[in-house]
């Protein structure tokens, strides 16, 4: 037997509002009213209709259709605030028992790379949040944007997770296939690697009319899946959930594709769908896999340069972690929560300058006109935050 393992990433950041260097406000109101608008729009175009398709598929194939999700804490928080209906529809999916929720940092942050204690705190907060909403505790971990290196697997193992997912980067895999389960070196922790070719056929190329495989039908994709038979235990299809209805619009036929895919995949008796926990229980670990560099699922380089490749990003990241001790010292929940929301990786991604002049995918996902505007807005917010923080600490000492 072999299993198709879908994992969908659901994330929405708290984008910052336009903030001037001359703004002297004293509250912690840094977030854009646009967040509500965007969330409701994406819920309508993607989350709600796609959840419905998945729910119907589970009703149709209760024994054979499974998917996994990672829902960032900041996305869940926005569902709760702006679209409780969306949160309910995810709850309904989880209640079927066919859907697994993965663990991650609540704030979709880069803490795994920059601050271990902070990483642990945010993972715990996320687990608590998932438990609160869904009544389950995550067993498999997915770090922000699939950022991974050996030591991250080891940290996650220390936290009790049974497995972690990562990018099947070519230079790491070398001659090996992503279609098996591997092991974090020296740990009782499995490693599941994204098959980026087949994942990206859906996530990026589905509606590309210049692609030689266009149009991509469920039947054609299923035939590619079946070709793996005998040469792999798992096919890990990891992608942004917004692929359905947002990146690939409804009129591209993406929803029909999703609806028909299980039918064609399941026509082959050796294939089924599995959650990540089911897959690691079912298939053996074939060997340890070393990740000797930081990888992610971004760009061709599969590295971290989209978040920390230039000096304005590096400065901003350095600054945010530099004030950690002061923030924690304040013991103010609102200060700590706000500080962590500014850690969300998207804020640094918006500052990415590579390829900016070409107007590529980075620009498409940014609320700013340029990476420099993103940096300046971030700096203005951070400067104000630091002032509010300093004021609060000063007052506490006076008391």
């Amino acid at each position: 037997m072999s299993s198709v393992c879908f994992y969908f990433q659901v994330h929405q950041p708290f984008r910052l509002k336009k903030f001037s260097v001359f703004n002297q406000q004293n509250d912690l109101d840094y977030f854009s009213p646009e967040n509500e608008v965007i969330l409701k729009k994406v819920a309508e175009k993607c989350y709600l209709p796609t959840n419905q398709v998945l729910y119907d598929l589970i009703q149709k194939y209760p024994d054979k259709f499974r998917v996994s999700f990672s829902l960032s804490g900041v996305a869940l928080e926005q569902f709760e605030k702006y679209s409780p209906q969306t949160l309910d529809s995810f709850k309904r999916l989880v209640a079927t028992g066919n859907v697994e929720i993965l663990g991650e940092t609540y704030y979709h942050s880069l803490a795994a790379v920059y601050d271990k204690d902070e990483f642990y705190a945010q993972v715990k907060k996320h687990s608590d949040c998932v438990k609160k909403h869904f009544g389950v505790t995550p067993q498999v971990f997915r770090n922000t944007e699939l950022i991974y290196q050996d030591y991250i697997g080891q940290m996650v193992s220390d936290l009790g997770f049974k497995a972690i997912v990562a990018e099947g980067a070519d230079d790491i895999l070398d001659w090996r296939s992503p279609n098996f389960i591997y092991q974090v070196p020296g740990r009782d922790c499995s490693l599941m690697l994204k098959n980026y070719r087949l994942s990206d056929d859906i996530a990026f190329r589905f509606s590309n009319q210049g692609w030689k495989e266009f149009p991509l039908t469920a039947e054609k994709f299923a035939s590619w899946v079946h070709q793996i038979s005998g040469g792999g235990d798992v096919l890990n299809l990891f992608m942004d959930y917004e692929t359905f209805g947002e990146h690939q619009w409804s009129n591209t036929g993406i929803f029909d594709f999703l609806w028909h895919l299980p039918e064609f995949v399941l026509r082959h008796p050796d294939w089924e769908f599995a959650t990540l926990s089911e897959a690691i229980a079912k298939y053996p670990r074939v060997s340890e896999m070393h990740f000797n560099r930081l990888t992610s699922w971004a760009d061709l380089e599969r590295d971290l340069t989209a978040w920390n490749g230039n000096q304005i990003q590096q400065k901003s990241i350095r600054q945010i972690y530099e004030i950690k001790d002061l923030v924690l010292k304040s013991e103010s929940n609102s200060l700590i929560d706000t500080w962590r929301k500014i850690q969300t990786s998207d804020h640094y991604y918006y500052m990415c300058t590579k390829w900016f002049a070409d107007g590529d995918v980075h620009a498409y996902f940014s609320p700013y006109e340029s990476p420099y505007d993103a940096f300046i807005n971030f700096q203005n917010v951070l400067a104000n935050f630091s002032q509010v923080l300093a004021k609060q600490l000063k007052e506490e000492y006076r008391i």
């Binding site: 001037s20 260097v21 001359f22 230039n310 000096q311 304005i312 590096q314 400065k315 300058t353 900016f356 002049a357 006109e369 340029s370 420099y372 940096f375 300046i376 700096q379 203005n380």
Partner: protein, 427 residues
């Protein structure tokens, strides 16, 4: 191929970017199979243009009232021609170009006795007189010469160019470096706009220095899209930052404005922003270099806003002085109200100085790695200046990335596009 180019200025005697652009473009264009004759109203002796035949219109023979030559016999000379026209008369005549039928063309004829008007630079109260004078000399000197294409730079040369195109049947390219509406905003001189319209209507092809300018021509003059090509200006690698030893002795930051001190360039926004900047960033000096009709009022404004002590007003600067200023600046600001291109911003970037430019500019199309703002948004301008001064990393990143873009902003790229247009018209 022989190209007759009609221009209005040539370095080093220039009032703005027009002369620089003409030098850059012709240097890259000339050679191979292309001969350029470039006529300017007047030369001053320091010009270096071995790549082409640079002609001073004052050395051309002035026409007589009686026009000679077979082709020219068809030219209609208005009976009311007076030896000394006022600007108004002349413009009335120019406006009449619009309705003139083929071969029934009115050419202003200056009397042989007319001497060079006073003033060294050909802009000013007597500009119309100059335009008339230039047209007269050029038309009569070149109507019977051999050339394949007429390429005219900005409205001052359009009367001469249109007349020559009609007389000779040669294709006409009008090249737009700036529009009257850029220079004067809502106070545009309608007569000048009439000359621009004349050029656009009669041209075989229009070259705009930016999409920004192309869109204005489409919008305000109703010219169809495919008649207008866009050829961005370029830049030559000249002396770079390494050539200059920094004259800075402290960590005071310098913010530079360099350009004509006129409505178009937005100097007032620069001064008003400075007032806000110093509330957040103190160790700063603003250099406002250039001269123009708003210089006095801008100085007065700096005084009234209490920021005079933060300002230097070096006046009109040239050559090495300009380069030294680019080099010393920590930030170059171009708050233009309407900037067809904005060559100074490109030059500043070429000196590894980060640039902050208005979105209402052509250069913002070619240097994306810049700080951009809407020229009227003084708060935003001040915000951007403060942040640029505060964060070394921001300035460095801008310079590094703009440097990559500059590699493809070259005059040979502009020349290649221009040659393609020549070839298209030559068919």
């Amino acid at each position: 191929m022989k190209v007759l180019m009609l221009g209005w200025e040539y370095p080093p005697q220039i009032a703005g970017g027009l002369g620089m652009a003409c030098e850059g473009l012709t240097r890259a264009l000339a050679g191979k199979d292309l001969d350029i004759t470039f006529v300017v109203p007047q030369l001053y002796g320091q010009e270096q243009a071995t790549h082409m035949n640079l002609v001073d219109s004052y050395t051309l023979p002035a026409s007589q009232e009686r026009i000679v030559g077979q082709k020219l016999e068809r030219v209609y000379v208005p009976a009311n021609l007076k030896p000394y026209w006022s600007n108004h008369d002349y413009l009335t005549s120019l406006s009449a170009f619009d309705s003139i039928q083929e071969y029934n063309l009115s050419i202003p004829v200056a009397p042989a006795a007319l001497n060079r008007p006073p003033g060294k630079v050909h802009y000013g109260w007597n500009l119309m007189e100059e335009v008339r004078f230039y047209a007269d000399r050029v038309i009569h000197a070149f109507a019977e010469k051999e050339f394949d294409i007429i390429h005219a730079h900005d409205w001052m040369t359009f009367p001469a160019a249109v007349a020559l195109a009609k007389l000779t049947g040669r294709p006409l390219i009008v090249h737009v470096h700036s529009l009257e509406s850029d220079r004067s905003g809502f106070g545009s001189n309608q007569e000048i706009e009439a000359v621009e319209r004349l050029g656009f209507n009669w041209a075989s092809k229009i070259i705009a220095v930016s999409h920004y300018t192309k869109n204005k021509i489409k919008k305000f003059f109703g010219i169809q899209d495919d008649k207008i090509g866009v050829v961005h200006n370029g830049i030559y690698g000249r002396r770079t930052k390494e050539h200059y030893i920094s004259q800075k002795t402290n960590d005071q930051k310098i913010v530079l404005f360099l350009g004509r001190v006129t409505y178009q360039k937005g100097p007032e926004y620069f001064v008003r922003a400075a007032q806000k900047v110093i509330t957040e960033y103190h160790n700063v000096r603003f250099v406002l270099a250039g001269s123009g009709d708003q210089l006095d009022s801008v100085k007065q404004l700096a005084n009234d806003l209490g920021v005079k002590d933060y300002f230097n007003f070096p006046g009109f600067i040239r050559g090495e002085q300009i380069e030294a200023n680019y080099n010393n600046a920590d930030l170059y600001v171009m708050p233009s109200v309407s900037e067809p291109f904005g060559l100074t911003a490109l030059e500043a970037a070429n000196f590894s100085t980060p640039i902050l430019i208005s979105k209402q500019s052509g250069v913002s199309e070619v240097i994306n790695n810049s700080l951009k703002f809407d020229y009227w948004d003084i708060d935003r301008l001040a915000d951007l200046i403060v942040n640029a001064l505060k964060h070394d990393e921001l300035r460095q990143e801008l310079v590094t990335m703009a440097g990559q873009e500059l590699k493809s902003v070259r005059w040979d790229v502009a020349a290649k596009k221009t040659r393609e247009i020549y070839q298209e018209l030559g068919k």
